[in-house]
């Protein structure tokens, strides 16, 4: 469904992506992990051509990137994306946010678009705010609307770029619940996140990156219990330290803490 073939990208002498080979199958849920600046967000954004690539090819849903402008537009209609900062259109109501691309990009009649929008808003628990404007909503509510907006084009792949990082802690779970529901319906998902619980429960595969390279790929159980590289262990240790500062350690966090503390099980 998504195939990276020796993909590279540079900003000057800085290698943002370096020799990326990756196969993602239909229905698979991939979580991209890695320290900030590791290239995971860039990798995610190459899938719908928001980032260009300098070397290699990516095949997405049978289309090869880099492609023409029109091809990229066609592709993006089949790939939904959710951003860290929601990026809702502030001058439009919630309903219009979800309808715009349906009407303009998919050429659906307004009535059909609105029916689809209301249906999706109901599924993310936001139907009662259809007439509201984004600024009147909480962060968690805005992100749920943004997910509905991305789903409205009936995409075959959903990309999530740190969807909960900009949220207050008490709003994280409402967004993760919606993502769980989408995963349960068999959607192909690629997610950049620091939510280890989500990675452990939902992901089929964890892809760990650093310095623009993929260092490890493994099912979450294997990755979290037996990280093979020092960098992965260092990264997990860092995550645990950050979690410890909040004082709310989950069972998984404690388990991870043991793994990184003194158990070189590789």
């Amino acid at each position: 469904m998504i195939v990276f073939d020796n993909v590279g990208k540079s900003f000057g002498s800085h290698r943002v992506l370096d020799g990326i080979d990756l196969h993602i199958h239909a229905g698979e849920k991939i979580v991209l992990l890695g320290p900030s600046g590791s290239g995971k967000s860039t990798l995610l954004r190459t899938i719908n051509a928001l980032e260009t690539i300098d070397e290699g090819h990516i095949t997405v849903l049978g289309r090869t990137l880099p492609g023409s402008k029109t091809e990229e537009q066609q592709l993006r209609r089949d790939v939904g994306m959710v951003f860290q900062n929601f990026n809702l259109f502030p001058h439009m109501s919630v309903l219009d946010n979800v309808c715009l691309a349906q009407i303009q990009a998919r050429k659906r009649p307004r009535a059909e678009a609105e029916a689809t929008a209301m249906d999706l808003l109901a599924k993310v628990g936001m139907a009662h705010k259809a007439k509201a404007f984004p600024m009147q909503l909480s962060g968690g509510q805005q992100q749920r609307v943004a997910i509905a907006r991305a789903l409205a084009l009936r995409p075959q792949i959903m990309l999530f770029d740190e969807p909960t990082s900009a949220l207050d802690p008490e709003m994280v779970s409402e967004v993760l619940q919606v993502m769980n529901a989408i995963a349960a319906q068999g959607m192909t998902m690629v997610v950049v996140t620091h939510e280890m619980d989500f990675a452990r429960k939902v992901a089929d595969r964890v892809v760990f990156m650093d310095h623009g390279r993929i260092l490890e790929q493994a099912p979450p159980a294997a990755f979290f219990s037996h990280p093979r590289t020092d960098r992965a262990r260092a990264f997990l240790a860092h995550v645990v330290r950050e979690r410890a500062k909040t004082g709310k350690l989950t069972p998984l966090d404690r388990e991870l803490a043991q793994v990184v503390a003194g158990n070189p099980s590789a």
């Binding site: 951003f83 259109f89 001058h91 303009q104 991305a150």
Partner: protein, 471 residues
């Protein structure tokens, strides 16, 4: 105004107010040597100063401001083809006349429709505002008058067909039109009147001296020699000898609103029409330029930037002159109204483009990314996402520009359009009521611009409320 520490010396210079701009053949810069001033009034002034045994100092004063300048004591006398009329006598003391002027009709050589004065009805006639010819045309009625402040331009526009006839003082026609084979004088000249020298009210001493000097120059033939040199001597000048003036001024009978109302109303309407159309043009073109500049490929960006820099970096006045008086030389002749709308609109488009550009750049980058990710095309993204948000940011500066344009529209008077400020100027210089009329005119401007700015603030607040922003 006696200054105690500088006693008047016998050689105190005689300050003569004149307007060299468009001043031929009265007093003007010699086309062959621009540092020299020539003209029949220059020769007259030299002769008068000699009679009075005082050095002559010429002061450049805008024609409309000559009589007020006497009151402000920046000049001692104004001699610049000022007609001896009741209106003028209200503002100044006058010497005996020095010239008997007449009004000359001039048309294109192939013009057969104009044979007598009454034929000017229904024609487009060029003249100077506030002139004796202007008053005669008003009395005739039914004439489509175009007002100029530049004599050269009147006859140039006659040649190009922008007006059907020019009706002005004979000396001007003699200098500007006589040698032109494309133009024809419609004889005889009409409407005799007197040019006289204007003095500060109450300056009877200077009046006695100048009257005596003029008497002497008339008697010894000095005046006739000067006029013959400039081809201005006419048999009518004999009337200078028999002139007797009472200096009495009849009372103005018509109420003020009746004299001023129609002209101020027409000027206001012209100002509103031209500002609204020019702003519509500026907003539309500005939007195109802004999009070109932000999203266009390199050559298109460069084109838009060049346009913006040129139109922002040069005075609107020069742009208007080029559009109206310059383009005809390249074969493109614009109607004055069209030139006015274009001039203001093209100029303000540069400002609007920058306002919109700031608005576009104020839209967060994430908006573009989210739109792209939804598979929208660039034109769709601009139309539905970027421009609606940038317009909101641009409302306050665009409103400010509209009010600025509204006031700048007074500049279009240089291309013969009579808008509110020009109407004020014409009325004020005819009546010397600078304060009363000025306050009324300012009030009209304010009455229009204040609601505009209120409306903009209201729109802004409403948009914010609609989106649930409380601040």
């Amino acid at each position: 105004m006696a200054a105690p520490f500088t006693p008047a010396t016998p050689a105190a210079s005689l300050r003569w107010g004149a307007d060299l701009e468009g001043g031929a053949p009265y007093a003007f810069a010699d086309p062959k040597d621009a540092s020299r001033v020539i003209g029949f009034e220059q020769e007259l002034a030299d002769a008068l100063a000699k009679h009075l045994n005082r050095p002559l100092e010429r002061v450049q004063v805008n024609w409309d401001s000559l009589i007020p300048a006497l009151g402000r004591n920046t000049i001692d006398l104004a001699m610049a083809g000022i007609e001896l009329t009741d209106e003028h006598k209200r503002g100044a003391l006058f010497t005996r006349p020095y010239y008997v002027y007449q009004q000359q009709m001039v048309v294109r050589a192939d013009e057969a429709r104009v044979q007598v004065f009454e034929d000017l009805r229904g024609k487009r006639v060029g003249t100077l505002s506030g002139s004796a010819a202007h008053r005669m045309l008003d009395q005739l009625g039914g004439v489509n008058i175009t007002f100029y402040s530049d004599i050269y331009a009147v006859y140039q526009d006659l040649g190009m067909g922008r007006v059907d006839a020019v009706f002005l003082d004979l000396p001007m026609a003699a200098y500007y039109a006589k040698g032109n084979p494309k133009l024809r004088f419609v004889d005889p000249p009409l409407g005799e009147g007197y040019y006289a020298i204007a003095l500060r009210k109450g300056d009877e001493a200077l009046k006695r001296e100048l009257d005596a000097a003029l008497d002497a120059m008339l008697a010894d033939g000095t005046l006739e020699r000067i006029y013959r040199r400039w081809d201005l001597w006419t048999p009518s000048q004999e009337k200078l000898l028999s002139f007797r003036d009472t200096q009495e001024v009849p009372q103005q009978l018509e109420p003020a609103w009746k004299r001023f109302g129609p002209m101020l109303a027409a000027g206001t309407w012209m100002t509103i029409k031209i500002s609204t159309l020019a702003m519509a043009l500026a907003m539309a073109l500005g939007m195109v330029l802004a999009v070109m500049r932000v999203y266009g490929p390199m050559p298109v960006q460069w084109l838009a930037t060049t346009y913006i820099e040129i139109f922002r970096g040069t005075p609107l006045l020069i742009q208007l002159y080029l559009l109206y008086y310059g383009l005809p030389k390249l074969g493109l002749q614009l109607d004055a109204f069209v030139a006015g709308v274009l001039g203001l609109g093209l100029n303000y488009a540069a400002n609007e483009a920058e306002n919109y550009r700031a608005g576009i750049q104020a839209v967060p980058k994430g908006q573009m990314e989210a739109s792209l990710a939804l598979g929208l095309t660039r034109p769709q993204i601009l139309r539905f996402v970027i421009l609606p948000q940038s317009l909101r940011v641009a409302i306050p500066p665009v409103t400010n520009d509209f009010i600025a344009l509204f006031k700048d529209s007074s500049l279009i008077s240089v291309i013969t359009l009579v808008e509110l400020t020009k109407a004020y100027g014409m009325l004020a210089s005819a009546t010397y009521d600078y304060i009363g009329l000025g306050l009324v005119t300012a009030a009209i401007y304010l009455a229009i611009s204040y609601p505009v700015s209120r409306f903009a603030r209201w729109t802004e607040a409403r948009l914010r409320r609609a989106q649930g922003v409380t601040a």
